[in-house]
């Protein structure tokens, strides 16, 4: 075949000439493959492990929760007569307020309220719905011990040997943490309930401890002969009029809940993959078109001597196939490392999947798919070869595309422009070839978004005012008086504050336990804080603060749990007896403290079951707040004395640290991607514009003047990207952050901005990176010999 040697030489010359571009393309491909393969491994392993766990635990196919008594005789008759029923059981669970469960150990002192879950003490089931240990064995708890969900092991940093106390009207029960359990129904953080496994004797002890404060529910569970018939069975259950005052859950939902946490991670990885593949494809197209332009004359020559277009196409596509394959191999190797990190959590929560090979196979298949996508895109782009006329390619330099270029507006005319020649030429190029700059624009927009949103989130949650969005007012000092400290200590401290001349103002808020009925008819516990709510006000997302007796404000999570909204009336029955309160809901606020389910009123409590008290105080200006707080903490070691900042840190737990790390990581990723893409595009533009640059130099343009034109192009695109990215962050950032933080109780989040960080420092950092990269990437191209590109 004529010209094969020339074509091969052309291929390698082009690769050598665009070494940096090739490396960047391989990098994008590797990153995309790594994420896609890891997401695949995550999905395959998580579903496999979930199935395996549900098989071992013999998860029920149908579960009906019921808040009242269950007629066992009637239930047995139904089960016996229904051919779908393989096994059935009714088990009792004892719901206990998370704040009443305290766990103490080496470096640990926490209550389960911190984790925002509903907690139930249960005993092991017989036959099915088994709670397993981390070796997959059925747990038989010994008296005096408790097995906690793995969720708490991960969230609260608990350990075997920790001591758990349950406190309530009946005193206190102490249990030792014997281990952590896998619960095939409620493993995930997306399941809002958690089961704590104890022996039958200990369940009775806990029951008498919590007395009225605990609520008994029943789980009516069935294993079916045909799991696919769950819906049909549900209809039969309803038709039989059996106990059903609570939610119904079927096998399909258990599968979903067990996989959703990993599913969200996989979804994010897939989204990022799609984004990376998109950028990679645009880069491939741009690189390829540039190469064809550069090789235009040689292509014309090869065509003239009889090389078939098919062979030309094949040689170009081979080059990209090689790059895509290299990226895929590197990406697959990277995926081995990344999936190990991602799968650690799956193995902990769900156990082994037994699907290692399918996971790897799917990863390889996805990598192959990505390679195919790149090759197809290359083939599509190579249609440009069809448009090359050998005659035209040989007669002219041919690199210039056919047609009349977009005519610049008058203000971009060199003759009339007041912006300076180099600026005018730089901007004119943007005007002439806007399509070229779409990729850097998209990348800069995303980079700004990625830089700014985590920063804003961090700024928001660390601002002192944020505490008012969490259910607590802003004050210099917070004092928490919680069991086992006696209730009276709160009153003593209030007197101490009143007598302290440094204290400008203070208030005491007392939280007591009530119960109420939800709109679904089930019983629910309700913690109401009472006191002067106007002294240190909080922010209300809807409505306003209660100002008179008979008014109630509820947290967003509590409103959801009770099914109430503004204007509804809640009947609060005091735990331990007392006069019920009829309270109209006048406000809804966000709260991530004390389990997120709280309420506030100004009228005095009728419940004698005081759970805790909070004192807030402001100091007279001029006093050193830190010293005053330390002084109170030292003289009152039995209570928790903290500043607002400490309170935020304690309430948000690791979230603030995680957000801080995420913000730093986002800055690095955003800057790195911006630098890579700028480098890639500037190198390609230099190659593409070699003839133009040579002409300018022949006319007497200095190197720095030509580089200034490149700078105008890249910084203009960056400025547009900064504006778009900032707009995107404002429009989408809040809802996105709200979505991500919803499990922590922040359903409606208004992102605050640190203008200095978001609008000055971040764009300035990006500008530095883009300017530096542009200068570095354009240096060699601009300084190439003029004669090589102008002489013919």
């Amino acid at each position: 075949m004529p010209g094969v040697r020339e074509l091969r030489a052309l291929t390698w010359r082009s690769l050598r000439r665009n070494r940096a571009s090739a490396a960047i393309l391989v990098g994008f491909m590797a990153l995309a493959t790594m994420l896609a393969a890891s997401a695949a491994a995550l999905v395959v392993t998580a579903t496999g492990a979930s199935e395996s766990l549900m098989r071992q635990a013999r998860t029920p196919h149908f579960l009906q929760m019921h808040a009242g008594d269950v007629d066992l005789v009637r239930m047995a008759a139904f089960a016996m007569s229904n051919p779908l029923v393989e096994q059935w059981a009714v088990s009792e669970i004892l719901n206990v307020d998370g704040a009443a469960v305290r766990i103490v150990g080496d470096g640990v002192d926490t209550t389960l309220a911190e984790a925002l879950q509903d907690n139930s003490f249960v005993t092991q089931n017989a036959g099915f719905d088994l709670l397993l240990d981390t070796d997959g064995e059925v747990i038989a708890p010994t008296p005096g011990t408790v097995w906690l969900p793995l969720f708490y092991f991960a969230e609260l940093d608990l350990a075997v040997g920790n001591v758990l106390w349950v406190t309530g009207p009946g005193g206190r029960t102490q249990l030792e943490v014997a281990g952590f359990l896998r619960d095939s129904q409620m493993n995930s953080s997306y399941a809002s309930s958690k089961r704590l496994l104890v022996s039958a004797g200990d369940l009775e002890r806990v029951r008498s401890t919590v007395a009225d404060a605990g609520a008994v529910e029943h789980l009516v569970q069935f294993r079916l002969t045909d799991p696919a018939a769950a819906t049909q069975f549900e209809e039969q259950y309803r038709a039989a009029g059996l106990e059903a005052s609570g939610p119904t859950v079927t096998w399909a939902l258990f599968v979903l809940v067990n996989s959703i946490s990993e599913g969200v991670t996989a979804a994010i990885a897939i989204l990022v993959t799609v984004l990376l593949v998109g950028i990679a494809l645009l880069c491939v197209r741009f690189t390829l078109l540039t190469t064809i332009e550069q090789d235009h004359r040689q292509i014309g020559t090869l065509m003239a001597i009889g090389t078939r277009r098919r062979d030309l196409r094949r040689l170009y596509s081979r080059r990209y196939l090689a790059m895509a394959l290299a990226g895929a191999v590197v990406g697959l190797l990277g995926a081995l490392g990344l999936s190990r990190v991602l799968l650690a959590r799956v193995e902990l929560f769900l156990g082994p999947s037994g699907r290692e090979l399918p996971a790897i196979a799917l990863g390889v298949a996805l990598a192959a798919l990505l390679v195919c996508v790149v090759v197809l895109s290359v083939h599509r782009t190579l249609r440009a070869l069809e448009r090359i006329s050998p005659v035209r390619a040989l007669r002219t330099d041919g690199a210039a595309p056919a047609g009349v270029p977009r005519r610049p507006p008058r203000w971009l005319s060199v003759a009339d422009g007041a912006l300076g020649t180099n600026t005018t030429l730089g901007l004119g190029d943007l005007w002439r070839r806007p399509g070229l700059y779409v990729v850097p624009l998209v990348v800069h927009t995303l980079a700004v978004f990625v830089l700014v949103v985590p920063q804003n989130l961090y700024t928001t949650v660390t601002s002192p005012g944020f505490v008012t969005s969490m259910g607590a007012g802003v004050s210099d000092m917070l004092v928490g008086v919680r069991p086992p400290v006696e209730v009276e200590r709160a009153a003593e401290l209030a007197e101490e504050l009143a007598a302290d001349p440094r204290v400008e103002r203070h208030t005491m808020l007392v939280t007591a336990a009530y119960s109420t009925t939800t709109v679904e008819g089930t019983r629910a516990s309700l913690r109401i804080e009472s006191g002067d709510l106007g002294m240190f006000p909080i922010s209300y997302t809807r409505g306003r603060a209660p100002v008179e007796p008979g008014q109630l404000a509820v947290s967003a999570l509590q409103a959801d749990a009770l099914g109430v909204d503004l204007g509804d009336v809640v009947v609060a029955e005091p735990v331990g007896g007392g006069e019920p309160l009829e309270l109209a809901v006048v406000g809804v606020y966000q709260d991530i403290t004390n389990g997120g389910r709280t309420a506030k009123m100004v009228m005095p409590h009728t419940s004698s079951e005081v759970m805790w008290s909070t004192l807030q105080a402001d100091f007279t200006p001029g006093f050193h707040v830190g010293a005053a707080i330390s002084g109170y903490a030292a003289t009152n070691p039995d209570v928790r004395v903290s500043s607002v900042r400490d309170h935020v840190a304690a309430s948000l737990g690791g979230t603030v640290d995680a957000l801080g790390s995420a913000a730093v990581a986002a800055v690095l990723v955003g800057l790195a991607v911006a630098a890579l893409v700028t480098a890639l595009f500037m190198r390609l533009l230099v190659a593409r514009d070699a003839a133009r640059t040579a002409t300018l130099r022949a006319l007497g343009f200095r190197d720095h003047q030509i580089r200034r034109q490149s700078l105008v192009r890249s910084t203009s695109v960056l400025v547009a990207g900064v504006l778009l990215g900032t707009l995107l962050a404002h429009v989408v950032g809040g809802p996105l952050a709200g979505f991500l933080l919803a499990p922590a109780g922040l359903t409606e989040l208004t992102l605050g901005t640190n203008p200095w960080l978001a609008h000055v420092a971040s764009p300035a950092a990006l500008l530095l990176v883009v300017v530096g990269t542009t200068l570095a990437s354009t240096r060699s191209g601009v300084e190439d010999s003029i004669a090589l590109t102008t002489k013919e």
């Binding site: 002219t396 330099d397 210039a400 047609g403 009349v404 270029p405 977009r406 005519r407 610049p408 005319s413 060199v414 003759a415 009339d416 422009g417 007041a418 020649t421 180099n422 004119g428 190029d429 002439r432 003839a691 133009r692 002409t695 300018l696 130099r697 022949a698 006319l699 007497g700 343009f701 200095r702 190197d703 720095h704 003047q705 300084e783 010999s785 003029i786 004669a787 102008t790 002489k791 013919e792």
Partner: protein, 244 residues
């Protein structure tokens, strides 16, 4: 005696170990029209590029007035090209995204010479003189090759350079367009602009004051046309004599 505007001596240049220029000496006087002829590969274009500072010399010196161009730094050389030289290439090198007028005012605009109005007026005057006065607003892709080359000459003349370097200025044009371009160059020369023109075309060389014949990177012969009655025949005869 005429004053030397450009004086090049002992020019050596090799590409990848292949010598292209072997100690070439060349002088262009103020207002003189010098044509350089030679077969392909004789080094005439390389000579032009090296003298104009578009390519680097291995050895030798090039004096433009009192300045040794080979001693200048890159930026100083760029300034010299912009302020004191003009270039016309075989392929018109106008920037395709700028109108003809914008192309012509480019370097004056870069240095802020005059007001934008003055620059525009001068460019329009040059275009009119070149016979393409109504094409200033056109883009390079909208005009013919001859018109483009004439616009290129206008661009080169915008700063009134002392010397114009032309590399095969009529090489890519038909005979009508070539004549128009050549007439324009001769007219500029008659007004005092020195020309150093590399050409294959005897009719172009015949309009010069002097023709330099190059063979294998050396000056083989020089022909002063002066009052020669039939310069084309004289050039053709010398070409045959030296083997061009």
């Amino acid at each position: 005696m005429s004053t030397a505007l450009l004086n090049a001596s002992g020019l050596h240049k090799s590409y990848a170990e292949t010598p292209v220029l072997h100690g070439v000496d060349l002088r262009v006087d103020d207002g003189e029209f010098v044509a350089v002829m030679g077969p392909s590969g004789s080094g005439k274009s390389t000579l032009l590029h090296c003298i104009a500072g578009l390519d680097e010399l291995d050895a030798g010196a090039v004096w433009l007035d009192e300045t040794d161009l080979t001693e200048l730094a890159r930026d100083q050389l760029a300034d010299a090209r912009r302020e004191r030289m003009g270039f016309v290439f075989q392929q018109p090198t106008l920037l395709r995204d700028l109108s003809l007028l914008d192309n012509i005012v480019l370097t004056s605009s870069l240095d802020g010479i005059g007001t934008s109005r003055q620059r525009r007026e001068r460019a329009e005057a040059l275009l009119s003189r070149a016979g393409i006065g109504d094409l200033g607003a056109r883009m390079p892709t909208e005009v013919s090759g001859g018109e483009l080359q004439r616009a290129g000459i206008c661009r080169a003349m915008m700063r009134s350079p002392r010397i114009l370097f032309c590399d095969e200025p009529t090489g890519a044009l038909n005979s009508t367009a070539a004549t128009a371009v050549l007439d324009l160059l001769v007219e500029l020369n008659s007004e005092g602009t020195a020309l150093l023109v590399v050409t294959h075309d005897a009719t172009v060389a015949a309009r010069a004051d002097r023709v330099v014949f190059m063979i294998d990177g050396r000056v083989a012969q020089q022909l002063w046309l002066g009052e020669t009655r039939d310069p084309v025949a004289a050039v053709a005869a010398t070409m045959r004599h030296v083997g061009v």
